[in-house]
C-alpha cells in the first residue's frame, strides 16, 4: 500500500512512557508511517501538534492535565486538518460517544490485535471512520447518560469519598440537596448504594469532565 510517497506523520499521546515508546516502535515498523511527536500529558498535545503538524494523532483517554476527549476537541479546533484516533484501555460505552462528538475519526480499544492498529491509522488518515463494532453496539445499548447535569457533578465529586456534608461544602449546596441528587442518581443507575452508583456511572463513561 501507499507507494513510496511521503509517509503519514503521527503524534502519540499516552501517559505511560513504556506503552508510548512501544507503540512508537510498533508503528515505526510500517514504512508509510512515521512518529514525529510523543507526549505524556493531555495539555501538551496541542502545543506539540502545532510544532510538528502531524497528520494523525493517537490519543489515550486517561491522561493527566487534560483527558483525551478534551484534548481531541482542542486539537480539532487548533488544527482541523489533523485527524484524531482515540486509543483507550477501557471500552466505556460513553467514551466512544463523547470522543465522536468531540471530533474524533476513530476509536480503538487496547484489546485489539496489534496488526490492526496500522490499518486503523491509514483508514483514519484516508478520511474514513474507525470504530470497534462490538463497542458501538454497547454504546447504542447504554444510550445517553440519564443523569442530569447536577447529578453527574455531585456523583463526580462523591468519587473522592467523603460524607454528604463534605460534598455539600465543596459544591456550595445544602446537605439535603446533595442527598437528593445522590438518591436520584442511585435510582437512575439502578444501583443500591452511593458507591454502586459511582461504579455504574463510571463504567458507562457518564462521569467525564464537563
Amino acid at each position: 500500500m501507499s507507494g513510496g510517497s511521503t509517509p503519514i506523520r503521527l503524534l502519540l499521546a499516552d501517559d505511560q512512557a513504556l506503552v508510548r515508546g512501544a507503540l512508537a516502535a510498533l508503528l515505526s515498523l510500517e514504512e508509510d508511517l512515521t512518529v514525529v511527536a510523543e507526549v505524556g500529558r493531555g495539555d501538551e498535545v496541542v502545543p506539540e501538534a502545532r510544532r510538528r503538524s502531524p497528520d494523525v494523532a493517537l490519543l489515550d483517554v486517561e491522561m493527566p492535565g487534560l483527558d483525551g476527549i478534551a484534548a481531541t476537541a482542542a486539537l480539532r479546533a487548533a488544527l482541523p486538518t489533523c485527524r484524531v484516533l482515540v486509543v483507550t484501555t477501557f471500552g466505556r460505552p460513553g467514551y466512544l460517544r463523547r470522543a465522536m462528538e468531540a471530533g474524533a475519526s476513530g476509536f480503538v480499544v487496547k484489546d485489539t490485535p496489534a496488526r490492526q492498529l496500522a490499518d486503523a491509522v491509514r483508514r483514519v488518515h484516508a478520511g474514513l471512520r474507525v470504530v470497534d463494532p462490538t463497542l458501538a453496539a454497547e454504546t447504542l445499548a447504554a444510550g445517553v447518560s440519564p443523569l442530569t447535569e447536577r447529578e453527574t457533578e455531585v456523583l463526580r465529586t462523591a468519587r473522592g469519598g467523603g460524607s454528604a456534608a463534605d460534598l455539600a461544602r465543596a459544591l456550595h449546596l445544602s446537605e439535603g440537596t446533595v442527598r437528593n441528587h445522590l438518591s436520584a442518581a442511585i435510582g437512575k443507575t439502578g444501583a443500591r448504594n452511593r458507591a454502586d452508583a459511582i461504579r455504574v456511572a463510571e463504567q458507562n463513561g457518564w462521569l467525564l469532565g464537563e
Copy 2:
C-alpha cells in the same frame, strides 16, 4: 553487549493485545532479544512457557485468569531457570513486595522510559535484580498490610458493592461480624468510610488474591 551469541528468549504476558504487540515490536528491535511467546491470560503463562522455554518472562499484574503475582509463583515453580520481570501499570507499593516474595527478579512500572526496558531484561537475565528505586522507598514506607486475613477478605468482597447483609450471606458470617471487620479495616487504613477503606487498601496492594 552480548556479542552475537544466542539471543535471550522472551515470553510476554499482558491482557491488552495492543500493548503486548507493541512491547514485542519494541523488544524485537534489540538484536540480543527475541520474543518467542505471547499470552493474554495469566493461566496461559505456564503452559506456554513449558512449550517455548523462555529465558525471561515479562508479566503484567492485571490479567484475567490468574494475576501476575500468582503467575510468577506458578512459573517459578514450574520452570525455575526462567526469570520473571513484572511489568505493571500501577505502582501499588504492595505489588512490589508480593512480586518479590513470589520469586520475581525485577519490577518495572509502565511509566519508565521505553529505552530502559531492554536493559532491565538483560539485567534480569544476568541474574541481577531490577527494582524501581522510588517505588522501593514507597514500599518500605507503606509496610506490610496491617489487615488481618478475614479483614482483607471482607474488604475484597465489599469491593463489588452491596450491603453488610449481602456480604454476610456471601461469606457465611453474621452481619454484625462483617460490620466489625469493616470497622477494624476502616480504623487500620485511616479511612472514614467503607468505600474509603477499599480505595486505600487497593492503592496499597493489600487486596491481592491470597
